[in-house]
Every structure is written in C-alpha cells, then in structure tokens.
C-alpha cells in the first residue's frame, strides 16, 4: 500500500515526510521533552520536594476540585443540550448551537473578565455580595465559574452531531414499547453515545485542569488558597524557581500525555473519531 497511495516520486515523498517530521519535532515534540528535562535538571530530590511542598499540594487539590465540579456540570449540560437539539426539531437551532460554541472564540482573559464585571467589587452584584459576605472573585467559586465557561462547549459539541447522526428511531421504539423517557435515555441513548461522551469528557477535563488565562483573571493568586496548578507554575517561574516551576508543569504535561493516550485509544480501539473538533 505504501507505493500505491500517492503519485509523488520517491525523492519527493521522502522530502515531504522529512519536512513534516522536522517541523513537528521542532514545534511540538521539543517543547514537550524540554518540560521533563528541565523538571529533572535539579535531580529527583528537588523534583519530589517541588511537587510535595504544601503550596504545590494545595494547587493540585484545587485543580482537582475545580475539574471535579466543572466537568460533571458540563456533562449534564452537554447531555441536556444534545437531547433537545439532536432528538427534536425546532426553529433557531443553528443559532442556539452557535451560542453554545461562543466560549471557544472568546479570549480566555475576556472569559475571566466577564465574571469580574458581574461579581467583582465594582461589578453588578459586587455590593450585594460584599454586604452578604459572599466571595466569588478572588475565591474558589470564581475559578469554578470561569472554568465552566471556557469548557462550556466541549461535551455538547461532541454529542450534538453524534446524537443527530444516530437519529431518534431507537429511543422512539423503546418508548413505544413502554419505556419511560428516562429509561430510553439510560438504556438506549447512553450506551450508543458512551465513546463520544468519554471523548468529550477527556478534552473537557484537560482544558479544565490546564486553563490559565481565565482563571488567572479571577483567582487573585493567593498562594495555598486560590492558586491552581497552572497559576502555581507561573508564580514559581516568575520567582526564577525554574526547577520547581517545571516540576509542577511536568505533572500537567503528564496529564496531557494521558489525555492523548486515552483519546488515541478511543480512536484506534473503538474507531471513534471526534465530531466536535478539538480546542
């Protein structure tokens, strides 16, 4: 098959392949490798100390907490949105989908700013929140909100095309045989969409744990309290504590690698290919 797939000559083939590989190695592989090399530059002792130091542990915990809230919320939203949009026909559907996609085209910094405008000290609800002693901005709720915003479309945009493709015949059959809507969803829809759902969750989780810009605007960078892992990396880096910065960064890089491995496994093993396009 190698010879029959393209019309180029052998030299042209080799040249194209080499240029593509050199480009990928320079722009993608090298940065990835350098994270791990820089992280281990100071030795294993420094590495372990950097990732187990209290502020680092607090950042890891906060990142896990934020993802543990944002991802399920977006799964619930994605399932509801896909059920309404894919299984029913109503006017204004394309506009609704465009609105769901909006967060992808908004700069991360603006994604954080909008919540400052709502809940910050000078924001619409700022006075009321201050009077009632509720902290959203420069506190965990703001970080969660900003993360939900930037990961908003991931699950929905994966499920909508998938469920539209599958139609509603199976569910209608189940309902006509006496199943409730919930049973039809649980026993018919969910098994049909499980790989797509997992795919969406993977990408949503990677972004939720790795988000920087939006979270940076609402976090206030309070060490040990409102610092997520990416923000902790920034603080360490700006303090010229490079070994520690790269050590924490390497944990995030491992998360990225794990995401890619699972995503590829879904593609190879189950033939599932993303429908939503990554972001």
């Amino acid at each position: 098959m190698a010879a029959g797939r393209t019309s180029e000559g052998r030299i042209a083939r080799a040249a194209l392949l080499s240029v593509a590989m050199v480009f990928l190695a320079l722009f993608l592989l090298l940065p990835l490798v350098s994270v791990f090399v820089e992280a281990l530059k100071g030795g294993v002792g420094v590495y372990v100390e950097s990732v187990t130091q209290p502020d680092a542990i607090a950042a890891i915990k906060l990142t896990l907490l934020v993802a543990a809230i944002a991802v399920p919320v977006n799964v619930a939203f994605g399932l509801a949105a896909a059920w309404a949009i894919a299984k029913f026909d109503f006017p204004g559907k394309s506009i609704l989908i465009t609105f769901i996609d909006l967060p992808f085209s908004v700069s991360p910094v603006v994604s954080g700013l909008i919540y400052v405008l709502l809940f910050g000290a000078q924001g619409w609800f700022g006075e009321w929140l201050a009077a009632n002693d509720v902290d959203i901005i420069f506190a965990v709720p703001g970080i969660v909100l900003a993360t939900i915003f930037v990961t908003f479309p991931f699950v929905a945009r994966e499920l909508i095309p998938l469920m539209t493709e599958q139609g509603r015949g199976d569910e209608e059959a189940a309902v006509s045989l006496g199943a409730s809507g919930w049973q039809a969803f649980w026993h018919v829809t969910l098994p049909n969409i499980r790989w797509g759902l997992l795919y969406g969750v993977l990408l949503c989780n990677a972004r939720a744990m790795g988000e920087f810009g939006a979270v940076s605007v609402v976090s206030g960078h309070i060490r040990g309290r409102t610092n997520t892992m990416p923000l902790h990396v920034e603080i360490l880096y700006n303090e010229y504590n490079f070994a520690a910065a790269f050590a924490v960064a390497s944990l995030l890089a491992l998360l990225a690698l794990l995401t890619l491995v699972l995503k590829s496994a879904l593609e190879w093993r189950y033939g599932y290919h993303g429908k939503g396009g990554g972001h």
């Binding site: 194209l16 593509a20 190879w268």
Partner: protein, 293 residues
C-alpha cells in the same frame, strides 16, 4: 468530521411535520432539556458576555475612543493580530503538509505522530509557554544556536509567533485531513491519466477541493491566536508598543483597577472574535456545499 455540527443539527432527524414550536414525537423530555439548556446558556454565557457590552455602552463614545483606541491599545491589537496572522500563515503551509503526509503516506510511528498533532489541545498553555521560553532563551537548546546568528526569538514578537504556531497547528491539520482523505488518490490518478501534470493536478484538482476546509483551519488558528494569552506572556517580553498583546493589556488594566479600560478593550476583542466566528461559520457552510456536490 470536525465541522459537521451545524449541518447535521440544522436538518430534522426525521421527516415528521412540525406543529407549533417543536414537532410532535413520542419522545419526551424536550421541555425539560430545552429549558435547562437555554437557562444555563443565558446564566453562564450570554448574560456575562453582555455585561461587557452594557458596561461599554455606559461609557460614552469619547471615553470609549480614548481608552479602547489609545495608542497603546491600537499597537496591542496590531501585535495580537499581526503575530496571529503570521502564525496562521506558517500553520497554513505546514499544517497542510502534515495533513497530506498523514493521509497519503504510510510510515512507522504514524499513529504516534498523529496523536502528537493534538498535543496543543491537551497541554496547558502555561506549560507550553514556559517550555518554549526555555527552548529559545539565550542558553536554551535552540536559543544557543539562534541568538549568535542574530535571531532573537524569546522576548520579541517573533517569540509570540512561535507560541501561536504551537497553539494553532492542530486546527489546520484537523480541518484539512478529512477532506484530503475524501479525495483519495484515485481522483489524482484520473486527472493524471487525462494528461494533467503533477503541478496541474495539485493546482486544479486538490487545492480547489480542500480550499474551504483549509481556509476554515486558517481562520480557526487565527481566531485562537488573536485571543491567546497563557502560552504567549512568558515568551513575549511584554514591552508596550512592541510585544504587548491585547489580552495582556486587559490584565494590566485590571491589575491597576482600571475596569473601564479593560472592559473597552475586551469589547473590541469580542467584536473581533465574533467577526472571525461569523467568517468561520460562512467558510464551513461553503465547505459543506462543496462536499455535497
């Protein structure tokens, strides 16, 4: 398929007739799921985004012009847009080449290479930012060769372009790949058996077929690049009028408690994003009309 959501969703799942807002079906749950979707969308996305425009509208025109179109802001838009455009051009060329190689060539480790292309979607931007800065700094793996040649990447606009090449590459590859796979080598062979040269086949057959998808990928990379923050700020150097991007200017204004300034610049950025989103949707519609032919 990366771009099918609109097309698929716009057509009804079945040929049933609509009466009233939603067409009748035995399936329950429309009211609940539609209501929840709309309410959550308004609460999380639409109302917060509208705050930017409502705040800006309250500023008055002269104040808006003074902050959103100040010298510093204008140069920040220029840096953001210029570097994003340059990076999208590089990605347009190399992304197409990589997609071509992935679709048409077989080689060892192809699956790993294909997985690697998605790295920028999975790697947190701040991690990419510090890694690229370390690579291109004067003592870095690449910087130690480039700096003596007079090529300063770190802490210059060129560094921003490098970061945005990293961020934007998969958009082009993943847009073009499925369309290239659809064309198949048979069509090229047909063109060549009819007497077309290799260059003619490329120019007259392949490029027109992939053009809408290619431009879509280009526009997506551009849109992402204009708003990108995390991967850029470490390598940019962040000098006002030279390497300060618009998102960073928003953050700077916020840190000085200049909410009006930050909001006005955010409004300009949002208008640019929405314009690019509209362009992308039009390109996708064009791509679909092509693929149905």
């Amino acid at each position: 398929m990366t771009t099918g959501s609109l097309a698929l969703a716009a057509s009804p799942p079945h040929g049933s007739r609509r009466r009233g807002f939603v067409e009748r079906t035995a399936l329950p749950g429309f009211g609940l799921t539609f209501g929840f979707t709309l309410a959550w969308l308004c609460l999380i996305v639409l109302i917060p985004l509208s705050a930017v425009f409502i705040r800006t509208a309250g500023m008055g025109w002269s104040e808006f012009v003074a902050v959103a179109l100040s010298e510093r802001a204008l140069s920040a838009y220029k840096v953001s847009f210029g570097t994003a455009f340059a990076a999208a051009c590089v990605n347009g060329i190399f992304g197409l080449l990589i997609a071509w190689v992935l679709v048409r060539h077989d080689f060892a480790g192809k699956r790993i290479v294909s997985a690697l292309v998605d790295l920028p979607f999975a790697l947190p931007t701040a991690v990419a930012g510090i890694a690229l800065t370390a690579l291109y700094a004067g003592n870095g793996w690449l910087g130690q060769f480039l700096v003596p040649l007079g090529i300063d990447v770190a802490f210059t606009p060129l560094g921003i372009v490098v970061a945005l090449i990293f961020i934007g590459l998969p958009f082009v590859v993943r847009s073009v790949e499925p369309v290239l796979a659809d064309i198949g080598p048979e069509i090229e062979e047909a063109a060549q058996s009819l007497g077309a040269s290799r260059l003619q086949t490329m120019r007259r057959v392949i490029l027109p077929a992939i053009l809408p998808a290619w431009l879509t990928g280009f526009a997506m990379a551009l849109a992402r690049g204009v708003g990108e923050y995390g991967s850029v700020i470490f390598i940019a150097g962040n000098m006002p009028f030279r390497s300060e991007i618009a998102p960073l200017l928003i953050v700077t204004q916020l840190e000085q408690y200049d909410y009006a300034g930050a909001t006005a610049i955010a409004a300009v950025m949002l208008v640019i994003s929405f314009a690019l989103l509209l362009l992308i949707n039009l390109l996708q519609a064009w791509a679909r009309s092509r693929s149905i032919d």
